[in-house]
Amino acid sequence: MSNPRQSASETTPARGNGDKPNLKPVNVKLVLLGEAAVGKSSLVLRFVNNEFQENKEPTIGGAFLTQKCRLEDKVIKFEIWDTAGQERFHSLAPMYYRNAQAAVVVYDVTKSASLDKVKSWVKELQRQANPNIVIALAGNKIDLVHSAEESEEDPAESGRESSVRESGRQVSTEEAKAYALETGLLFFETSAKNGDGVRDIFVEIAKKIPLEHIISRPRQTSNSINPGMGGTTGVNNGPNRNNNPSGCGC
C-alpha cells in the first residue's frame, strides 16, 4: 500500500512532543561506519539536533543518539550508534552493528581513500551483520566541492591535510553511484555542514526497512549488544516492540 504522494516533506523528523499519541514508535537500530573524520558524527548531529559543529571532536569507542522520524502513519525511532573511525577501534564494531537494521557507511567525497574503507565495511556488514540490513552509502562534505569550484579555496581542509588535491572532489558521483547500484546500497551525497541530503538518508532508510518484519519479530532479535558478554540479556528495545499497532506501512 505505497502512497504515491509520499515525499520527503511528509517525513519530517518528529521531536518528542510532536508525536500523535496513537503512534507508538518503531525502534530501528542504525549504525554509522566509515573512515575517521569523514563526518559520521556530524551527519548524526545534523539529523538529530539540526546543528553543525566545526571541528567536531573525534568519537572514541561509540556514541549513541536517538531521533524519531515520522513516515506516513508510522513513527520510527532511530537508535543511532555512531562509531569511532580509526581502524584500531574495529574490534568494537561488531558490538555496534550486530542486529542493526540499518547502516550508513560514510565516505568523504574529497578523499578517495575513504571510499575504499567504505567498501570493506560493506563487505563486512554483508558477511556478518543482520542479513536484512539496509545499507546506505553517504558521500559527505559536498559543500567543500562546491566551494572549491567557486573559490579554489578549501578552508576547512587547509588545516587538516597537506595534500594539494584536497581542495577538489576525489570521488565522482558516478563512480560512487555505480558502486552503490552494484552492491545494492541506497546512495546519497550529503553535506552535514549545510544539511544537504542528510535527512533524505534517514527517510529513505525508513521507507526501505521492512518494518512489519521487525514488528513481528519475537524478542530474540532485540539488540544483543555485546557478543562477548556471554549470558547477558542484551538491549531491550522497549516493551512496545511486539505489539506495535501501526501495522504494515509499505
Binding site: I60, G62, T66, R160, N236, G238
Partner: protein, 1011 residues
C-alpha cells in the same frame, strides 16, 4: 638546581619596581582565505603570543598575558615602566618652553645643548618618581658623579648599547621588533632601557592578522616603503619589490634603521623629520627618494650628498649627519650613519653593531655588565648575590617584590582585577554601533575613506594603561607580613590517604574504632573516609602531632571557592614555589600537599613533580624523533584528530597549538615504537599536559610519558582488547560491589560498560569532560592509586543513579549528556571512600601497572589452580569479583562468609563463623542473610562449582560488597604460607528458617577462632 624553575623564576628578583601595563587591539575580523575555519586571527595571535612569555632579558619588558575580551578584542599585559625615551621630546605642557626655544631659529645652535641637558634632567626627574632627595642621595654616592647628568652623551651611549643588546637577544629568538620608537623604549627606575612592544609584529604574524600597519612612520626604513609600493611596471621591479619585502619581513636590520633615527634625535634633540606629525606621506616619498639616491651612485657616502638636504629632514639632523654642527662625538655620528644605511643588505645587524667603536668605552668601563650606574664603591662581589629580601626584613617590604610578573598578574585577577572592565572604566572601550561606523564617503582613487567614525574599541592604540596594584597589595598585606613565617601546613593530616597507606588497611583500622553492631548506612560509612577534605581536617590533624591547622579559614570552603581566594592562593603558591625549588628532594612533600589541592597557577609543574619528571628533560626530549619523514597511517590519523581536539580551548585551537600537539603525539609514537601505538583519544589525553605547559613542550611530553604507564598501562598497545575488556569487567565488578542495585538494573537493560565507558577510561575522562574539569579530576587521580580511575567511573555513574534506575536503555545511554553536571570534587571523594573499603584483590588486574597495591597471587609461583588468571570471558560473565584469602582474613568480623558446599563437607571444616546454605535457597534465606548485618559477603565454594553464579545471585538480590573467595575452600586446605587461617571444625549449629510453608535449614558456625 631547581628542575622546574624557569629562567623567569630564577630572575624574578630582577624587576624591582612592579608595574603592569596593558594595551589593546583587535585582530582582523577574519583572515582571508580562512573565513570558515575557527582558527581566526585572534586565535592565531593567541597562540603565537605564548612564546613571547618565555622571553627574558634585562633590557626588555616581559610579556605577561594575553586576554580576549568582547568583540575579540585582545588585551596584552606586560611589564611596564612609566618613563620612556620619547619623553625627551614630548611636547607636553611642562616642556612647552623647550619647543618655543627650539622654534627660535636664530638661537638654535646655542640652545641646542641646553635643550638636551634639560630634557635629560627632566627625564631623570620623572624616572625617579620619588622625592628629589633620593635622587640627590643617589647621585652623591654614585660612582659616576653629577657630571653624568650633564653628560647626555654617556646616557645616549648606554641606551644605544642596551637597545642593541635587547635587539640582539630578540633576534636570537627569531623576533624582530619592527615597531621601534622612542615611546616604547621604556626606562626603569634605574634608568635602564626596557624595550616594549617588540612582540606585536611577531604575534600578529608580521601584521597579517591585524588591520593596522605596524611600525611608526617616522622610524620605518626605506625598504618598508619600497616593498609595500604597488609595482606593476616590469617584472624586474616586481621581483625586486618582492625581494625587498622578504628582506623587510625577515631581517633584523629594520630595527637598526629605526635605532639610527632615534639616536640622531637623541643627539640633536630635534625630530628627524621636519613637520614631524603632519606630513606622513612626505616622509614616505622622502624614503622613496632616498632609495633612488642611494642607488644612483653607491660609492659616494649617502649622507654627505647634497640631495639629502631636500628630503625634509630637520636642519639639526642634517647638520649632525653631515658633520657640519659642533657636535664633538664623531663616533656617535658614525654609528648613526651606519644605522641609516639605505640598503638593508649592507646595513649592520644589532649583533654586529654591539662591537662598534662607539661602544668601546663601555667595554673598557665594564659598567654595562651590571647596569648599575649608581653603585657605591667599593663594589664587592658578594653584593651581586641576590639576597632574599623577605628573609632579611620580613616587615615593611613590598609583598610583590621579587615575584614573577605572571604571578602578580594572576593574583591581581584573583583580587578582582579584569583588564577589560578596567579599561572600560577609564572610558577606553566606548564603542559605537557598527552602523555608525560605516564610512560616509570613500574616495575610490586612492582608497581613502572619509567620514568614518572611528571607534576606539576597534582601533589600535599604543596607549598603555597601567594596572593599579593597590587593591592587591592591600589584600596581601595581611598574609605576607610576619604571619608568613609562622604559616605552616599541617603535613600529617592527610596521612590516611598517603600512597602507601591508602589501601585496604586504612579501612580496617578505622573500622575497629567503631566496631560493634554496624547500623550505619553505606553513605555514613563513606562520609568517614572522605579524601583530603579540608572540611574535616580538624579532628585528624590535631590528633597526629598537635600542629595547628592552617591559619586561613578558607581551607574550609569548597575547592572552587578556594581557587578564587587570593589570600589562600597566595599562601599555596608560596608554599609550592618553595617546595618546587627543592624538588626532587621535596617530592614526597609535594605529593602530600597536593592531596589538599593544587594551586592552578603552578599546576603544570606540580603535576610534573608528582609524576617524577626529573633531570634534563629538555635534552631527553630533544633526542626524540618528532618529525619522521615517512607519512604513515598514524600520521594521517594524528593530522585529522589534532584540529578536532578540545577546540573550544584558546591555545589548542591556535595553529601553534596544533603544531605542538601534533609534535607531542608523533614523538609519543616514535618513542614507544613497537610497544604502544596511536589510538584516537591519545590526543585528548595529551591535551591537559600541553595546555598546562604550553611553552615547555619537553615538560609536557615527559609528563605525558610518565603518566601513561602509571595509569594506563598497555591501554595503547596495538591490540588492547584484552586489557580494555579486563578493565571494564573490573569496573563492572566494582559497581556491583558497591552498588548492587544499580548494577543489576544496568545489567538488566543491557547498559554495559563496553557501550559507554570506553571513552571514559581510554582517555581518563578527558574526552568527556572539558579541560577545566579534567584538571580538577586529574589533580586527585595523580596523587591517588593507579586504580582510582575505576572508582571514579563508579562514582560518576552513581551520581546519576536516580536517573539511571528509573530509565530504560535508550534514555540511559544519554547519560553522557549529563556529564556537564558531574561534581568533580564530590565524585573524587566518593571514589576514594570506595577505594578504601575495597579489598585490593577485588580490583586486581592481570594487566595492572607494576606498582600494584595488592594482588591475589603475591609473589608465588602460579602453580595452584586458583592462581591461574581467570579467563577473561569468565571474568566478564561474573558480576562479583574474586577476593583473596589474605583480604578475607582482614575483613574479620565484618564479613559474612557463605559456604555453598554440602552440609557434610561443611561439617568437616569451614571458615570460622561462616554459614552454610544451599545456593538454591537464596530467595527464601535472604531475609536471614540480611539479618546478619554484615558489610561484606564472601562466597566460599569448591572448584568448578557455582560459587560465582551464586555471588551474582547475591548481587542481584541487592547484597552489598559481594565477592567470591578465590580458590574456594581449597585455599584453606593447603598451608597458606604467610597467611595463617585455621579452618574451623566445630560442629555447626543448625539454624532453621521458616519461609512460607517450607522449612529450610542452614548451618552456622559460632566458634570464633579468628581473634
Amino acid at each position: 638546581m631547581a628542575t622546574f624553575a624557569t629562567d623567569k623564576d630564577l630572575n624574578a628578583g630582577i624587576s624591582q619596581d612592579v608595574h603592569l601595563g596593558v594595551n589593546s587591539f583587535s585582530a582582523v575580523a577574519c583572515v582571508e582565505d580562512r573565513d570558515i575555519s575557527l582558527a581566526t586571527a585572534t586565535t592565531e595571535i593567541f597562540g603565537r603570543f605564548q612564546f613571547l612569555k618565555t622571553l627574558l632579558h634585562p633590557n626588555i619588558c616581559e610579556y605577561v598575558e594575553i586576554v580576549k575580551g568582547k568583540h575579540d578584542r585582545l588585551f596584552v599585559i606586560f611589564e611596564y615602566h612609566m618613563n620612556h625615551v620619547g619623553k625627551l621630546y614630548q611636547r607636553d605642557e611642562e616642556a612647552e618652553w623647550l619647543i618655543e626655544a627650539r622654534s627660535n631659529e636664530k638661537k638654535k645652535k646655542e640652545i641646542n645643548l641646553s635643550i638636551k641637558l634639560i630634557s635629560v634632567f627632566y627625564l631623570i626627574k620623572q624616572t625617579f618618581d620619588g622625592p628629589i632627595s633620593i635622587l640627590n642621595a643617589k647621585i652623591s654616592g654614585a660612582c659616576l658623579p653629577c657630571s653624568y647628568l650633564l653628560n647626555g652623551d654617556h646616557m645616549t651611549r648606554e641606551w644605544a648599547f642596551q637597545i642593541l643588546k635587547a635587539l640582539a637577544y630578540l633576534n636570537k629568538n627569531n623576533i624582530t621588533h619592527h615597531n621601534l620608537a622612542p615611546s616604547n623604549i621604556l626606562l626603569d627606575s634605574q634608568g635602564k632601557v626596557k624595550l616594549a612592544d617588540y612582540g606585536l609584529y611577531f604575534m600578529t604574524k608580521g601584521g597579517a592578522n591585524v588591520d593596522f600597519p605596524i611600525g611608526y612612520p617616522h622610524y620605518i626604513p626605506p625598504e618598508a616603503i619600497y616593498c609595500s609600493a604597488n609595482i606593476d611596471e616590469t617584472t624586474e621591479e616586481a621581483e625586486k619589490a618582492e625581494k625587498a619585502k622578504k628582506l623587510y619581513e625577515t631581517t633584523e636590520k629594520v630595527d637598526v634603521w629605526s635605532l639610527g633615527i632615534i639616536l640622531a634625535e637623541l643627539a640633536t634633540g630635534s625630530p628627524f623629520w621636519k613637520d614631524n606629525d603632519k606630513d606622513i606621506s612626505g616622509i614616505f616619498s622622502a624614503l622613496w627618494k632616498l632609495q633612488s639616491i642611494a642607488e644612483e651612485d653607491e660609492k659616494e657616502e649617502l649622507w654627505d650628498r647634497f640631495e639629502v638636504t631636500a628630503l625634509g629632514l630637520s636642519d639639526p639632523i642634517i647638520d649632525f649627519l653631515q658633520g657640519t654642527d659642533d657636535y664633538e662625538n664623531a663616533d656617535l655620528r658614525k654609528l648613526v650613519r651606519t644605522c641609516l644605511e639605505v640598503n638593508p643588505s649592507n646595513r649592520c645587524s644589532p649583533e654586529q653593531l654591539l662591537s662598534h667603536s662607539y661602544f668601546s668605552s663601555i667595554y673598557e668601563d665594564g659598567i654595562s655588565n651590571n647596569y648599575n650606574y649608581w653603585c657605591i664603591k667599593p663594589f664587592l662581589q658578594s653584593q651581586k648575590l641576590e639576597v632574599d629580601d623577605d628573609f632579611l626584613e620580613p616587615l615593611n617590604k613590598d609583598v610583590l617584590d621579587g615575584m614573577p610578573l605572571s604571578q602578580i598578574y594572576y593574583f591581581w585577577k584573583l583580587a578582582g582585577g579584569d583588564v577589560e572592565s578596567e579599561l572600560a572604566k577609564r572610558g577606553y572601550m566606548s564603542s559605537t554601533p557598527p552602523i555608525e561606523r560605516i564610512p560616509r564617503t570613500v574616495k575610490v582613487l586612492d582608497g581613502k575613506e572619509e567620514g568614518t567614525t572611528k571607534d576606539t574599541a576597534f582601533l589600535y592604540s599604543d596607549t598603555v594603561y597601567s594596572l593599579s596594584l593597590k587593591e592587591l597589595r592591600q589584600r596581601l598585606k595581611s598574609v605576607a607580613g610576619p604571619n608568613k613565617e609562622t604559616f605552616e601546613w599541617d603535613t600529617d593530616y592527610f596521612l590516611v590517604v598517603d600512597e602507601n597507606d591508602m589501601n585496604f588497611l586504612v579501612d580496617e583500622t578505622i573500622d575497629e574504632e567503631n566496631s560493634g553492631p554496624k547500623n550505619d548506612s553505606l553513605e555514613d560509612l563513606l562520609g568517614k573516609y572522605l579524601f583530603p577534605d579540608p572540611n574535616n581536617n580538624k579532628s585528624s590533624s590535631s590528633s597526629v602531632n598537635g600542629q595547628s591547622p592552617p591559619p586561613s579559614n578558607n581551607v574550609k570552603s569548597p575547592l572552587l571557592a578556594r581557587e578564587k581566594d587570593v589570600v589562600y592562593q597566595f599562601q599555596r603558591v608560596a608554599l609550592f614555589s618553595e617546595l618546587l625549588r627543592q624538588y626532587p628532594a621535596s617530592r614526597d612533600e609535594i605529593i602530600h600537599q597536593a592531596k589538599v589541592d593544587i594551586p592552578p597557577f603552578l599546576r603544570g609543574k606540580i603535576w610534573a613533580a608528582i609524576l617524577g619528571v626529573n633531570g634534563d628533560y629538555q635534552a631527553i626530549y630533544d633526542t626524540y624523533d618528532k618529525e619522521n619523514e615517512k607519512e604513515t597511517q598514524t600520521d594521517r590519523q594524528i593530522d585529522v584528530d589534532v584540529p578536532r581536539c578540545h577546540q573550544y580551548h584558546q591555545l589548542l585551537s591556535s595553529p601553534v597549538g596544533h603544531e605542538k600537539l601534533r609534535r607531542l603525539l608523533k614523538c609519543f609514537v616514535s618513542v614507544n615504537k613497537d610497544k604502544l601505538v596511536y589510538w584516537q583519544g591519545l590526543d585528548s589525553l595529551c591535551a591537559p599536559f600541553l595546555t598546562l605547559n604550553f611553552n615547555d613542550e619537553a615538560l609536557a611530553f615527559n609528563c605525558f610519558h610518565a603518566f601513561i604507564p602509571k595509569f594506563m598501562k598497555d591501554f595503547f598497545i596495538s591490540d588492547n582488547t584484552p586489557v580494555m575488556q579486563e578493565y571494564l569487567a573490573v569496573f563492572r565488578h566494582l559497581l556491583s560491589f558497591h552498588d548492587p542495585e544499580l548494577s543489576r538494573h544496568l545489567n538488566k537493560i543491557g547498559y554495559h560498560p563496553e557501550l559507554y565507558a570506553v571513552p571514559w577510561f581510554l582517555t581518563l575522562f578527558t574526552h568527556v569532560f572539558p579541560l577545566d574539569k579534567t584538571y580538577h579530576l586529574w589533580d586527585k587521580i595523580l596523587v591517588g592509586p593507579p586504580s582510582l580511575p575505576l572508582f571514579t567511573g563508579v562514582s560518576i555513574i552513581r551520581q546519576f543513579r536516580d536517573t539511571l534506575t528509573k530509565t530504560e536503555f535508550n534514555d540511559c545511554i544519554m547519560v553522557n549528556e549529563l556529564f556537564p553536571n558531574v561534581d568533580i570534587e564530590k565524585c573524587v571523594q566518593s571514589a576514594l571512600s570506595m577505594y578504601k573499603v575495597t579489598p585490593p584483590s577485588v580490583i586486581y588486574r592481570v594487566h595492572e601497572s607494576d606498582a600494584k597495591t595488592g594482588s591475589i597471587n603475591e609473589n608465588k609461583k602460579h602453580d595452584r589452580w586458583w592462581e591461574q588468571p581467570i579467563p577473561i570471558e569468565e571474568k566478564k560473565q561474573e558480576l562479583a569479583p574474586r577476593i583473596s584469602l589474605k583480604d578475607l582474613v582482614k575483613l574479620k568480623s565484618y564479613v559474612l562468609v557463605i559456604d555453598t558446599r554440602t552440609e557434610q563437607e561443611f561439617a568437616r571444616g569451614h571458615f570460622p563463623l561462616s554459614i552454610n546454605m544451599n545456593p538454591a535457597h537464596l530467595e527464601q534465606l535472604s531475609q536471614a542473610l540480611w539479618q546478619e548485618k554484615k558489610k561484606y559477603h564472601v562466597v566460599v565454594g569448591v572448584r568448578g562449582e557455582s560459587g560465582p553464579q551464586f555471588a551474582s545471585d547475591l548481587v542481584n538480590a541487592g547484597f552489598p560488597r559481594v565477592a567470591v573467595l578465590n580458590g574456594g575452600i581449597d585455599v584453606m586446605r593447603v598451608d597458606g604460607g604467610e597467611v595463617v587461617v585455621c579452618a574451623c571444625a566445630c560442629p555447626p549449629i543448625k539454624a532453621p528458617f521458616t519461609s512460607g510453608a517450607k522449612n529450610i535449614v542452614y548451618w552456622k558456625c559460632t566458634q570464633n577462632l579468628m581473634n
